[in-house]
């Protein structure tokens, strides 16, 4: 690419910012970025942690070992991904993590269009010592790890059997990454996701009632699209989940955004 992929922008946010914020709104546990030694990261959302790889040049297996070890005792499993997935959808993350309902599974691996996706997969955090051991033996290939543990593979059919994923990401664009300038240009050319906005209470007066579909990659963009200022009197919830006025909160296809008065109650 000629420049750090984490800092590439897509509709108003860096890919790293979008990916970490998307994971934060999807999972209940911590979100962690593994940085290469000395790597200069773009701004991250509040609450996202950073750990640095102790060694340079050992590739994704090094990052996997560092990240899983940092989650020891805080999570049983982690969704591990690269930063260059502009179309990552929460439904894919949830589908992958559901694979750990089987207590014997160590890795949940999407296999899209016949290709394994180890950097958009789920890993047990207890694998950290094994990955470290393999690295110590000089084996830097993810494939070696999979020989030593129980991997569940999810092919296209298995992934799309999930109704949410099938509805919101039928072409599995979640797994599209941007390795070349042309791929990045193609990603930039795609429109922002289509989301539904609803306004409530005083925000719905003067003919503003009812759902409205807009294109918006972030909460701020959705607010702007319907003429709402995200000030202290307004708060939003995406799909009935957390209340927020974080303009950078990433939105994805199928989201429903509710804007309401922050002084609700009484």
């Amino acid at each position: 690419m000629g420049r750090a992929k984490a800092a590439l922008e897509w509709h108003g946010a860096t890919l790293l910012q979008r990916t970490t914020a998307l994971l934060a709104r999807t999972v209940g546990g911590p979100v962690l970025v593994v940085a290469a030694p000395g790597q200069d990261l773009p701004e991250l959302p509040n609450g996202v942690e950073v750990v640095a790889d102790p060694v340079e040049g050992q590739g994704p297996m090094r990052g996997l070992a560092t990240g899983l070890a940092a989650l020891d005792g805080r999570a049983e499993a982690a969704f591990v991904c690269s930063t260059d997935l502009p179309f990552l959808h929460p439904a894919l993350v949830r589908r992958v993590l559901r694979g750990f309902a089987d207590a014997t599974v160590d890795v949940v691996m999407p296999v899209a269009r016949g290709h394994r996706q180890p950097l958009a997969a789920g890993y047990r955090t207890a694998l950290a010592p094994l990955v470290e051991k393999l690295l110590g033996e000089g084996d830097l290939r993810p494939g070696m790890l999979f020989r030593h543990c129980h991997v569940t593979q999810l092919d296209d059919d298995a992934l799309l059997a999930d109704p949410d994923l099938a509805r919101h990401d039928p072409h599995l664009d979640s797994l599209v990454n941007v390795n070349e300038p042309a791929e990045y240009a193609a990603a930039l050319a795609r429109p922002e996701p289509s989301v539904v906005v609803e306004r409530f209470g005083a925000l719905a007066s003067r003919g503003q009632r009812g759902p409205r579909t807009v294109r918006a990659a972030s909460l701020g963009a959705a607010a702007a699209a319907v003429g709402i200022a995200l000030d202290r009197h307004v708060v939003a919830a995406v799909n009935g989940d957390q209340m927020t006025r974080d303009a950078q909160l990433p939105l994805v296809a199928g989201d429903t955004v509710a804007f309401l008065s922050s002084d609700a109650g009484g």
């Binding site: 409530f200 209470g201 708060v235 799909n239 009935g240």
Partner: protein, 597 residues
């Protein structure tokens, strides 16, 4: 102090030290102090010896917007603990202008009577003709009999018959929670009338006028827009969108029929008027037309409790049920909560009432009539959901929607963890006005599904702010207009009273009032075991539209309760320190019995 006995009343002034008034302000704070001093320990709330206090405030009678409020304070027949309820009306102004900071009533009249209080003292007048009348009709009748100079707080038939969640009302506004109407009814009093006899004393009139002008201007801003434009009912559709609308006795947090009951919908189709309380510039009351004629004021809490909580989505059924509650004089939240519990019991076959089903508006109205009449199933439901569950047994207490005996308001605790803590620990029981911790949950500044230390701090903060607002008194719908609440409130108090109060003193006052409430409840037998939520809410998660699961476990709630006790300086059992209790000024020295007159 007014003692009612036989066919007469004797009144005696109780002079309060200025230090007590400054320490407790008025309203809920002063009422709590009075209950400490005047309620015999362990008294039956419906016994003649149980005091009922109408308490005014430093700000009432001033031109400050929303200040025309009074508190009614007593030991609750529903919870057996302290209860206090506010109402806004000209009764507050006239009551203050009788020259008293509070009117405390004890005893029992020989027959149904009304009590009149003015500058000359108190007198009892027999009023058997008022028996069975709705409060509004009783008000009209006494106005006709005694003249328009009197303002009246009255009870409906539910108060006369001892329904444990009967209200006291004036001008259509209810002091609603905890059964204060039953306490007044137990004294054989249909109404209390007050008449102005003096003028309001203000320390710095020009400063108060300037403050009033400023506050009034701020009351027209965006912080109150919701109340002005759609009223509290604006909560309903918004709460439904964020999975915090309790539905079918807390078995769900969204309601399919919510849009039919939404303020946005009703405003367009049926909105006919907007009203204000006395001395209020916000104007939050929204009036809707009823099918077949008539008008009805609707608020979020009565629509939630009589609508989604009972599974009822027809607005005409909910309007009719709300009007019936007004006529009977009962708290809509406790009525709806108790009936919703009974609907679930009936559907599970725990009680023999096959006609009582979720979603059946006619059944809802029938249940309300039975409660008002204290007949059949109504006699059981008139006791509130906790007592009724104790009678029915069979595990039904697990889904009785109450804390300390008071039915839950329309905020789903599993998706509002700060609010869950507030509901669990509040002195009044499950309550959204003394613990407005939902503000933190809905602010976007805390993870509302992951309660922890931040939620504890937020709960303490909202409780403290409520203690001051309810004591000085200002309407909480103004809360959003203050940037630095304690400092701004201290400034208001200072110019009205001449006390030179600062923010730190007022914050200490808030903590004192919270502590005094806790101390009263502990005196009456409350323990840490009462600080909890119904086990349904702790054991059954909710799935949100986002796919996430909202769970409030017993361990998480207990951790927050432990944090709350620590933040308050209480021990692990929720007991305040003796030295803190000693600072409450509960000694006899502050109370000087005057001559009976």
């Amino acid at each position: 102090m007014v003692d009612v006995e036989g066919r007469g009343a004797t009144s005696a002034p109780l002079a309060l030290d200025d230090a007590v008034l400054r320490a407790y302000l008025g309203g809920v704070g002063l009422g709590t102090w009075l209950l400490h001093r005047l309620a015999p320990t362990g008294v039956d709330p419906l016994a003649p010896a149980a005091p009922l206090a109408f308490v005014f405030s430093p700000l009432v009678g001033t031109p400050l917007t929303t200040s025309a409020k009074f508190a009614v304070v007593a030991k609750s027949p529903l919870t057996g603990l302290l209860t206090d309820a506010l109402a806004s009306s000209r009764f507050a102004i006239a009551g203050k202008l009788t020259g008293n900071d509070a009117i405390v009533v004890r005893g029992r009249a020989a027959q149904l009577s009304v009590l009149l209080v003015d500058g000359e003292g108190a007198r009892l007048e027999a009023a058997p003709e008022l028996a069975g009348l709705p409060a509004a009709e009783a008000e009209a009748a006494v106005r006709e009999r005694f003249g328009r100079g009197w303002q009246t707080a009255a009870i409906g038939v539910a108060g006369e018959r001892g329904v444990r969640y009967a209200t006291v009302s004036h001008d259509g506004r209810h002091a609603g929670r905890g059964g204060l109407g039953a306490v007044l009814g137990a004294k054989n009093l249909k109404a209390v009338l007050v008449r102005s006899a003096t003028r309001v004393r203000i320390a710095d009139p020009p400063a108060v006028l300037a403050a009033a002008k400023d506050l009034r201007a701020r009351s027209f801003g965006p912080a109150t827009a919701k109340y002005r434009e759609l009223g509290t009912l604006a909560n309903l559709l918004a709460f439904n969108a964020v999975s915090t609308l309790p539905t079918r006795n807390f078995t769900a947090a969204t309601f399919d029929g919510a849009h039919r009951l939404a303020a946005e919908e009703l405003h367009e189709l049926r909105g006919v008027a907007r009203n204000s309380c006395a001395s209020c510039s916000i104007g939050c009351e929204h009036i809707y037309s009823r099918k077949g004629g008539g008008k009805q004021r609707m608020e979020y809490e009565n629509v939630f409790a009589l609508g989604p909580l009972c599974g009822v989505s027809d607005p005409d059924d909910v309007f009719a049920a709300s009007a019936r509650c007004d006529e009977l004089g009962i708290d809509t939240i406790s009525a709806g909560g108790t009936i919703a519990w009974a609907m679930e019991c009936a559907e599970r076959g725990l009680i023999d009432a096959p006609w009582l089903r979720f979603g059946d508006g006619a059944a809802l109205l029938r249940a309300l009539d039975l409660i008002g009449a204290q007949e059949g199933l109504g006699a059981l439901l008139a006791q509130g959901s906790r007592r009724a569950a104790e009678v029915v047994g069979q595990g039904s207490i697990a889904f009785a929607p109450q804390v300390k005996g008071l039915e839950l308001p329309g905020y789903e605790p599993r998706t509002l963890h700060a609010m869950a803590l507030g509901l669990a620990v509040n002195a009044r029981g499950a309550d959204h006005n003394r613990s407005g911790a939902y503000e933190a949950d809905l602010s976007g500044e805390h993870d509302r599904l992951n309660g922890g230390a931040a939620h504890v701090a937020a709960t303490v903060g909202t409780e403290d702010r409520a203690a001051v607002m309810d004591s000085m008194i200002l309407c909480k719908f103004l809360r959003g207009v203050f940037d630095d609440p304690f400092a701004e409130w201290a400034a208001l108090l200072s110019v009205v009273t001449g006390w030179h109060v600062d923010a730190a003193e007022l914050h200490a006052t808030a903590q004192r009032i919270v502590l005094a409430k806790r101390a009263f409840n502990q005196r009456e037998g409350a323990t840490a075991a009462d600080d909890t939520l119904p086990s349904r809410l702790l054991g059954t998660p909710l799935e949100l539209g986002s796919g996430r699961v909202a769970a409030l476990t017993e361990d998480r709630l207990q951790a927050m309760i432990d944090g709350y006790y620590a933040a308050r300086g209480w021990d692990a059992e929720g007991r305040p320190a003796q030295e803190d209790l000693a600072g409450l000024r509960l000694g006899r020295a502050e109370l000087h019995d005057g001559a009976r007159g």
